[in-house]
């Protein structure tokens, strides 16, 4: 045995860190839109079904292997079976690539936070959309034209990575302190945005749009696929983060109830965020004289970066008072939502490399932050948004979904899952019994398999978002192939044994 493994200060800190990793930008700009597009209130039925049959079981699986094998995803999977290891590395590399562009989005938030002080976008000729594309991103016409690096964004990217470095500097010791602020602050700010939103005229019309169920949607397979997709994108599974975090908990402690708390907190925040978002959309529609369900047709994006940096920015400018204050609060909320997800991905990579090669964690963190900063520069060029869109699509659909699928198949069918279940039930506050094994062995792999095949068919039929084939080949399939190759190489590299300390 080498030196003693790091430990969280308390269970509360571990749960907060897991919640912080799960709650991210997608909770605000993805869930409300997906719910609205897929049956409104009726979407909650497939969503809860997906949470209980796939989200929480996979979360338990990832945390359980981390905790039981006391290692991050690659080393934990290697201890289960040697040939599983590359899946763990693939998860870590996907997480690293996601961090590159996730931090670029956080850099946009930092810039907007500064612009909020003067409401710069409100007076820009051409409006909020032009401000975002021309002034902030300096967007070019396609992925082939890189254009210039935006210097304000470069400065914000550096600030973001310096912030991440300080969060993960001493591993669990610093993360354990930061999460008390980075998890509670965005929730507090979300409550403020919610209270402001629901007290605006027309807010109720937006909330009605969000909640009114379309029961016919429940008969559509696409809606169920969207629910399962949302659950996988929102819970931070398939990145190796949860295994890394759980590896800092002693083996003889609960994991199942911690997973329920993490999963339900994450879903609770995104369900709540829907009210804040749709209240503001209702207000905007009323002010602009547009039907509330016609906002998209009127040119307002209600999901993704378009929602945060264009539609919401315009809504803030339209507020009757305190625009600057709400601008700062909103973009601070976005930044604080993102930072714990970003540093959890960094931490997962750092722990994985430290476990395999016995790297000094301090040096590993510095190296990852420098690589992350350099990797993020592509996303703050004029073509950054195009590359972000392409890479995000592939990393989500053929990264984390594929990792979750392989984890379930490998551990469900080529490993003694019953032994793992007995270990987690021994100290688990909620007993998994037979249902968990059924979910991991049958339900989740079948559902994920169908989703992956559906994605592939769609990809073959039409190029994603009409991007040129060379860009999709490079940023999509090429990048995924490269990550698989590096994963296999890393898994075949010799492990360095920890030095025995007397």
């Amino acid at each position: 045995m080498g030196g003693k493994r790091e430990r969280w200060n308390s269970r509360a800190v571990f749960i907060l860190a897991a919640i912080g990793s799960a709650i991210g930008l997608g909770n605000v700009w993805r869930f409300p839109f997906i719910a609205y597009k897929n049956g409104g209130g009726a979407f909650l039925i497939p969503y809860f079904f997906a949470l209980l049959t796939a989200g929480i079981p996979v979360l338990i699986l990832e945390m359980a292997i981390g905790q039981q094998f006391q290692a991050a995803a690659p080393a934990a999977l290697r201890k289960a079976r040697k040939w599983f290891e590359w899946v763990g590395w693939y998860a870590i590399l996907v997480a690293l690539v996601i961090t590159f562009y996730y931090c670029a989005i956080m850099a946009w938030s930092v810039n907007y936070l500064v612009y909020s002080l003067t409401m710069k976008w409100a007076s820009y000729p051409g409006g909020e959309q032009a401000f975002f594309n021309e002034y902030v991103l300096q967007r070019t016409t396609g992925p082939g034209q890189l254009g210039q690096i935006s210097w304000p964004l470069l400065a914000s990217l550096a600030i973001t990575w310096i912030g991440i470095y300080f969060c993960v500097r001493k591993g669990t010791e610093t993360v354990g302190k930061v999460v008390w602020v980075s998890v509670t602050l965005p929730i507090l700010l979300l409550i403020i945005m919610f209270l402001r939103g629901v007290t605006l005229p027309g807010a109720f019309e937006g909330i009605k749009l969000y909640l009114t169920p379309d029961w016919g949607a429940l008969l559509k397979p696409d809606v169920w696929a969207a629910a399962y997709g949302q659950i996988f994108f929102t819970l931070s599974v398939g990145f190796g983060v949860m295994s890394a975090y759980a590896s800092f908990r002693p083996k003889n402690t609960d994991i199942t109830n911690s997973c329920f708390i993490t999963g339900l907190s994450n879903s609770g925040v995104e369900f709540f965020a829907g009210f804040a978002v749709f209240a503001v959309i209702g207000y905007m529609a009323t002010q602009l004289g547009v039907p509330v369900n016609g906002m998209e047709q009127a040119g307002f994006k209600i999901d993704g970066p378009g929602l945060a940096f264009v539609t919401y920015a315009k809504a803030i400018a339209m507020l009757p008072a305190l625009q600057q204050v709400f601008g700062v609060l909103f973009f601070l909320m976005l930044f604080s939502l993102g930072i714990d997800s970003a540093f959890s991905l960094t931490e997962a990579a750092s722990v994985a490399f430290a476990d395999k090669f016995q790297f000094n964690r301090f040096r590993a963190n510095v190296l990852i932050c420098i690589i992350g900063f350099l990797g993020g520069i592509l996303f703050i060029t004029g073509a950054g948004l195009f590359w972000l869109d392409i890479i995000d699509h592939w990393m989500n659909q053929y990264g984390l979904v594929v990792v979750s699928f392989l984890e379930c198949v490998f551990l469900g069918w080529f490993f003694n899952l019953r032994w793992l279940q007995e270990q987690i039930d021994k100290y688990g506050e909620v007993k998994t019994r037979g249902w968990w094994i059924v979910m991991i062995k049958y339900v989740t792999p079948i559902v994920l398999g169908v989703i992956i095949i559906t994605y592939l068919i769609k990809e073959i039929r039409e190029p994603y978002e009409g991007y040129p084939q060379w860009a999709l080949a490079l940023g999509g399939w090429g990048l995924c192939g490269l990550l698989v190759l590096i994963s296999v190489l890393l898994s075949n590299m010799k492990e360095r044994k920890a030095e025995v300390k007397s």
Binding site: A80, W215, P250, N252, N257, V430
Partner: protein
């Protein structure tokens, strides 16, 4: 707002926030009746070779 929209709001809140409250309650109860060795640093356990 339609009655079924209110219904989904109530169901959503009950499952999410009610479930969360229940999980916290279970954790609280468990902390009072934890096994004596829970959370202590135990010996490395052996993974069975049966798989």
């Amino acid at each position: 707002m339609r009655i079924d929209a209110w219904l989904m709001l109530i169901v959503g809140c009950l499952i999410l926030y009610g479930g969360l409250a229940r999980s916290f309650y279970i954790a609280y109860q468990a902390s009072k009746h934890a096994p004596p060795d829970a959370g202590t640093e135990e010996e490395e356990h052996i993974i069975p070779k049966t798989y």
